[in-house]
Symmetry: C3
Subunit: 306 residues, 3 copies
């Protein structure tokens, strides 16, 4: 097994992360310098679950580097529905592609798949598991807007089921960050995640209300509270409403507060915030391109040890 | 808001149209001259409704110019089904693409979307609204086959619901064209369209039978009468049958008559016409490529004021 | 009609086949020599049925040659569901693409389609008909692993319905091959295929058990026995089980035995065989790329007469 896959952000060192972010910043500043660099390279896209942003972002990144993609398409149009195993699928695709991106609903699937191939494989989300490139672009956006040193970040919404949130929290534990988790009690961070974060020496506090910490925050990372989590619609409406933000909510915030969201949003952030200097969520989505360009560039050169 | 979107053909001036058609003719005559011209450029495709011709034609046009595309894919496989607004979707995609093509079922959607982005946005059909690139390729095909000066054109079929037909009629009102509308009474051109055309000074006449005008026509533009418009199947069969053409129908036509159709056709034009010199509908579909190349070339250079 | 389509492998001469395989071997040995050779060329993909391997393999092949593809997408998202005929669809697409690949569920469809277009058209499977590029990559894999001279090949599984098997058998009749067909009686090769093979002078024998011939084989080509063929689940389990192979099955085989499978597999070949030197099925899938590169290269140069 090669060591240039990217499966999880959990064990990425601070140096690993900073190397990718530095490269992304270079690319962002001068994309022409790498345009065409990986001409002739083909990236295989295996998305076993729907995705807009992640898939288009990887595709854009590879094409901005001069390469191209081959896409398995939807599961319905593929051999998967004939009962092919993931191990077989990736072994077939590695004959077509120089690197592979996999999104799959099963936790651990990307790790397993990576053991069957000799080309770099990137996990683009494995169910409740990891989604390391989302974490990298989140970190990049934080660094560009607020810096990763002496950071005070609020992470709000569904903290129980959110893969994105867990990955980000683990990654931030490598940095000098004060993490404030804001959620209804029923959607708190899982106890084992809190435990792990404490083990890593992270500064972690939990809150039920944003008000308690808003004024101290450099960054507010909002995630969606999903209707499906609540058996009772009224209960959902009541709780979700408390974790939505608008201009009024942000009155107590620092002028420099950066608001992030992994998107898609539904009602969590009022559109009136879009035009303020707080809003960084579209920039955050756009940052997926330079970050994934940086990552692909390194993996294709055999550079990331992971 | 930028002024290099293309949302409607209704306000395109004769000069705007002729500039695109002239450029398309240049490209058609010497495609190699622009091959690779827009290398590194990425066009975002957002099709919220199925499309074969329009989507593949834009994709081909961009690739023939040396660029590439990123495609959102079907609505089912995208974030849209998670409740994301069109305004959010296009703002995310503009981080990936240098220009955006949108097809959406809601009238006015492309216009609205264009107000949220800083890259050129092209309307590829907004429900009952507009589809300006179809109009441009129709005009190009007419000009190549019959010329746009002193033109006598019959437009036949479903004139009530046909977005294509309305756009074409508005665009032709800028030229010296005699427009003959041929349809069953129940599928006549909407009164407000007739009114608008008269206001524009267009020469417009309406007919229930093709025979009345066939011998005077330079171009016959056939559109499909859709079964869904008729509650009664027999009524549909009877009426649709009167607006289908075959070799016998065309006996009274000029030898130079050009027959067009936006495709797909079902029974409106008998296959026996395909091999005659009248048939221009496949050429018409093919013309989508040089016309869209011309348009993309101009928009990417910031050239079309619209 | 042009003569540079590829519709069937049935009438490919030994010289035709060897010319493609030789070119594929050259490309396989030095892919860089053709990278970018067909820059600016666009291949149209029309898949009216799901496919992973074939479609991605064609796409990869075209891109490795420096070209690009435009893909009609799924039937659900295309004009086909509006009732467009295949003849119309291909005539539209030939305006976009320099060559066309068609997969369609109806036998004879590719042949019919080829009569309407002036660009090379490749049959990528027409129902129970042909799939010549699968045959070419199968022959390439056999030649690379065991050679095509004095070959002893076992072809096992569903021989009644398998398009892949029939095409391969016809193609092998041009070579000095001893063909052993191994299947349950109910899934034997159709009598007319056996008759044709005898007419071609092929060496053909039929067996109900692999044991009868295993030790004499250079190549064992395994295909899937589909559950749908059996009204009774128990009967299926019993029979399918007899035509699955694992390490124990292969104890009586030559050390040099090459095991092939067109994939996807379900239970026909135990995963424990994957790591043995017998396994050539992933290599076989990968061979689709150089073989299709060779074929596209020749067709685009106007070279294959068929």
């Amino acid at each position: 097994m090669r060591h240039d896959h990217l499966i999880t952000s959990k064990h990425l060192t601070r140096e690993d992360v900073e190397a990718v972010l530095d490269r992304a910043a270079e690319i962002d500043a001068d994309p022409d310098a790498v345009a065409g660099k990986h001409e002739g390279t083909i990236l295989g896209l295996l998305f076993f679950e729907p995705s807009t942003r992640t898939k288009m972002s990887f595709e854009t990144a590879m094409k901005r580097l001069g390469g191209d993609v081959v896409d398995m398409g939807s599961v319905e149009s593929s051999s998967v529905k004939k009962g092919e195993t993931l191990a077989d699928t990736v072994r077939v695709i590695e004959g077509y592609a120089d690197a592979i991106v996999v999104r799959h609903p099963s936790q651990g699937s990307a790790k397993m798949a990576s053991e069957f191939v000799d080309v770099p494989l990137i996990n683009a989300g494995d169910g409740a598991g990891h989604h390391p490139t989302q974490t990298l672009l989140d970190l990049y956006t934080i660094r560009e807007n607020a810096g990763l040193d002496d950071l005070s970040i609020g992470i709000m919404g569904d903290l129980k089921y959110g893969r994105t949130v867990h990955s980000l929290a683990y990654a931030l534990s490598n940095f000098d960050a004060h993490q404030h988790f804001v959620s209804p009690e029923s959607l708190q961070l899982p106890r084992e995640v809190v435990y792990d974060l404490h083990q890593e020496g992270a500064s972690v506090r939990e809150h039920e209300s944003l008000e308690e910490v808003l004024d101290s925050l450099d960054v507010l990372y909002v995630t969606r509270i999903q209707r499906e989590r609540f058996p009772d619609e009224n209960e959902y409406q009541r709780i979700a409403g408390e974790y939505q933000i608008d201009l009024e909510t942000l009155e107590g915030a620092s002028d420099d507060l950066t608001v992030m969201h992994p998107l898609p949003r539904v009602d969590e952030i009022a559109p009136e915030i879009d035009d303020t200097d707080h809003a960084a969520y579209f920039e955050q989505a756009h940052n997926g391109v330079p970050v994934r360009m940086a990552l692909l560039d390194r993996l294709l050169e055999g550079g990331v040890s992971r």
